[in-house]
C-alpha cells in the first residue's frame, strides 16, 4: 500500500512537473513577443510588453479605452482603429463590426493581441480618461432599489466631463464573487462640481456590481472609477427638447439639466419620467426646483401601475402614452430627443418619436443594457 502511495505521488509530481516546466519554457519563448511599440495618432509612442491584448496593453500605460464587458469580446465598446500590425480580423470580432468599420480598419482592442509594433488611432478625448481613487462620501436611498452614491475624488482630485457622460466603476471581490468587474454608470452631478461624482445605481437582482454597491459598500470606503467616457450629450438646435428616462436613467438627465440651468437657454424642455408605482419616483423636489429655475421646463412623471394607496393624480400609463399625446400637440420636425434607461423603454419611445415626425438623427440615447 505504501509503495502504491509513494508511486502515485512520484508519478503525479513527475508528470505535472515536466508539463509545468514545458509550459513555463513555452511561455518564455513562444508567448514572449518582447517589447513592442504602439504608435498612437502619429504623435505619441508607448512601449509595452507584447503578448497581451491591445486593450490591456493600453491600460497598462494609463490609456483607457471604454470597455463594459471587461475584455470578453461581448460589448464592442473597445473599438479602435488599427492601421498596422494587428493581423487579420478574428472570428470573435466579426459579429460586432459593420462592413464600413471593417474597411476602415476598426478592430476590437480586447481581441487584438500585441505581437509586433502597432499603429493605432483613438479619439483625442480618450487621453482625458483617467483612473480615479475616490472615497465614498455619502450613500443615500433614492427608492427601494436605487441608491445615490457620492464619490469624493482623491487622486487625481478633480474630473472634467461633459454632462451626459459616464464612468466605469471598478468593483472589488466580495462573498462568492472572486473577481473584479467594471460597469458603466452615468454621472449625475453637475459639470462644475469637479471634486465629486454622483452616481445613481439601481440594484439588478443577482447583478455582480450592483449587489456589491448595495450590500457591501459603506461610507468612507475607497473605490476606483475610470472615466469620463461616452458621447451622450446636449446637441445644438432650436426646436423643443424632449427628455425621456426611467429608473436610474434619471442620472445623466440631472447632470444635463444642471448644465442647461447655467446656460439659461430659451428652448422648451419637457422631461418624461416613467415609473411603475409611486415608490419608484424620486428626486421630485429637485425636479420642482429645476421647474422653478429653468424657464420653459416641465417634468412629467407617469406611473404605469399606480397603487390605490399611492393617491396618484398625475399621468397614468406607459411612458409612451403621454409622450405620444404630447408630440401630437407640438411641432416635431425640429425637436430633439434625449433618452436614457432600459433598452426596451428606449426603443419603444424612439419608435413613437419617429412616428410623430421627429428626425431620426436628432434622437440621442444611452441604453443601459
Amino acid at each position: 500500500m505504501t509503495v502504491l502511495i509513494l508511486k502515485t505521488i512520484f508519478l503525479i509530481t513527475a508528470i505535472n512537473g515536466v508539463l509545468a516546466v514545458l509550459l513555463v519554457i513555452a511561455e518564455r519563448y513562444l508567448a514572449n513577443y518582447g517589447e513592442c511599440k504602439i504608435q498612437i495618432n502619429d504623435q505619441k509612442e508607448i512601449q509595452v510588453n507584447g503578448g497581451t491584448s491591445l486593450l490591456s496593453a493600453l491600460s497598462s500605460q494609463k490609456i483607457f479605452l471604454p470597455s463594459a464587458c471587461g475584455g470578453r469580446g461581448t460589448c464592442a465598446y473597445c473599438k479602435c482603429k488599427v492601421q498596422n500590425g494587428a493581423g487579420p480580423l478574428l472570428p470573435t470580432e466579426v459579429p460586432f463590426l459593420t462592413q464600413t468599420e471593417i474597411e476602415s480598419q476598426i478592430r476590437l482592442s480586447c481581441q487584438v493581441k500585441v505581437k509586433q509594433d502597432l499603429q493605432i488611432s483613438i479619439p483625442e478625448a480618450l487621453f482625458a480618461i483617467q483612473k480615479f481613487d475616490s472615497e465614498i462620501e455619502l450613500i443615500q436611498d433614492l427608492t427601494y432599489d436605487i441608491k445615490l452614491i457620492r464619490l469624493k475624488l482623491l487622486e487625481p482630485d478633480h474630473i472634467q466631463f461633459k454632462a451626459g457622460q459616464y464612468v466605469q466603476l471598478v468593483s472589488q471581490p466580495y462573498g462568492k464573487v472572486k473577481g473584479s468587474v467594471q460597469r458603466a454608470y452615468s454621472i449625475a452631478s453637475p459639470t462644475y462640481e469637479t471634486g465629486i461624482v454622483d452616481l445613481m445605481i439601481r440594484l439588478v437582482p443577482e447583478g455582480i456590481c450592483t449587489t456589491w454597491v448595495h450590500e457591501v459598500l459603506k461610507e468612507k470606503d475607497h473605490v476606483q472609477i475610470i472615466g469620463p467616457m461616452g458621447d451622450f450629450k446636449m446637441h445644438e438646435g432650436e426646436g423643443e427638447i424632449i427628455m425621456v428616462a426611467g429608473g436610474s436613467g434619471m442620472a445623466p438627465m440631472v447632470s444635463l439639466l444642471s448644465d442647461i440651468l447655467c446656460k439659461s437657454g430659451q428652448r422648451k424642455i419637457t422631461y418624461f419620467f416613467g415609473a411603475v408605482t409611486k415608490r419608484d419616483l424620486f428626486f421630485l423636489d429637485e425636479m420642482a426646483e429645476f421647474e422653478r429655475k429653468i424657464p420653459n421646463f416641465t417634468f412629467v412623471p407617469a406611473l404605469s401601475d399606480p397603487q390605490p394607496d399611492d393617491g396618484w393624480k398625475g399621468t397614468t400609463g406607459l411612458i409612451t402614452v403621454p409622450l405620444a399625446n404630447y408630440l401630437s400637440s407640438i411641432q416635431t420636425d425640429k425637436a430633439q430627443g434625449y433618452l436614457c434607461g432600459s433598452p426596451g423603454m428606449i426603443h419603444a419611445c424612439i419608435s413613437v418619436m419617429k412616428e410623430k415626425g421627429m428626425p431620426g438623427d436628432q434622437i440621442f440615447f444611452d441604453p443601459f443594457g
Partner: protein, 196 residues
C-alpha cells in the same frame, strides 16, 4: 484488439462508432458552436487535431508509465492533465508560427480542453487495448467523425434558422431533436463493422 486493421478502426470511428452520435460525447460544444457552418468546421478541425495528438501522447504515457508502474487507476487525472497542457502548448505554438492557422483553428483550442470526446477517446483506446498505430487511427477517425457530425448539424441549423419553429423548441431544443434523428440515421451504418 490485435487483429483489427487501423483502416477498419479509422472508418469505424467515423461511421459505426461515431463518438458524438453513438456515444454522445462532446455534446456541449456540439450544441453551442453549431450555429454557423464556418465556425463549426474550424472547431471540428481543432478537435480532430487535438484528438490525434492527445491519443498518441496518452497512449505513450499509459503504456510506458502508468501500466508498468501499476498505476492504471490514475489514468483519468493524468489524461486530463496531459490534454490540458498539450492544448495550451499547441495554442501558443500555432499562435506564434501560423497566423492563418491560428485564426481558423487556434482560437477554438481553449474551447475544447474540456471537451469530453477527447478524454473519451483516450479512455476507449486503453480500455480496448489498441496498439499505438490503432490508437492514432482511432483518434483521427473519431475526430473526423465528430467534424462530420458538427458540420452536418451546423448546415441543418443554418437552414432551419429561416423556418418557423415553435417558440418552446427554438435553440437547444430543436438542436437536440435533430441530433437524435442524426444519431438514428447513423445506426444505418452499424451493419458494416462493429467496434466497441
Amino acid at each position: 484488439m490485435e487483429g483489427l486493421s487501423p483502416w477498419v478502426l479509422f472508418f469505424a470511428a467515423i461511421f459505426t462508432g461515431n463518438i458524438l452520435l453513438t456515444y454522445f460525447l462532446g455534446m456541449c460544444s456540439f450544441l453551442s458552436v453549431s450555429k454557423q457552418l464556418k465556425t463549426a468546421f474550424g472547431l471540428g478541425l481543432a478537435v480532430t487535431f487535438v484528438l490525434t495528438i492527445t491519443a498518441a501522447l496518452n497512449w505513450l504515457v499509459y503504456w510506458y508509465l502508468l501500466d508498468p508502474l501499476g498505476l492504471e487507476y490514475l489514468r483519468y487525472i493524468v489524461f486530463i492533465v496531459v490534454i490540458a497542457a498539450s492544448v495550451q502548448l499547441l495554442e501558443m505554438f500555432i499562435e506564434r508560427y501560423s497566423e492563418s492557422l491560428y485564426i481558423n483553428l487556434g482560437i477554438f483550442l481553449p474551447l475544447i480542453t474540456v471537451n469530453c470526446a477527447i478524454l473519451g477517446v483516450s479512455l476507449f483506446m486503453v480500455i480496448r487495448k489498441y496498439t499505438f498505430i490503432q490508437s492514432v487511427a482511432f483518434g483521427v477517425g473519431s475526430g473526423i467523425g465528430w467534424l462530420i457530425a458538427i458540420v452536418a448539424m451546423a448546415g441543418i441549423r443554418e437552414r432551419i434558422n429561416e423556418k418557423k419553429i415553435p417558440a418552446a423548441l427554438q435553440g437547444p431544443g430543436i438542436a437536440l431533436i435533430i441530433s437524435g434523428i442524426m444519431a438514428m440515421a447513423f445506426i444505418g451504418f452499424s451493419g458494416m463493422v462493429q467496434i466497441q
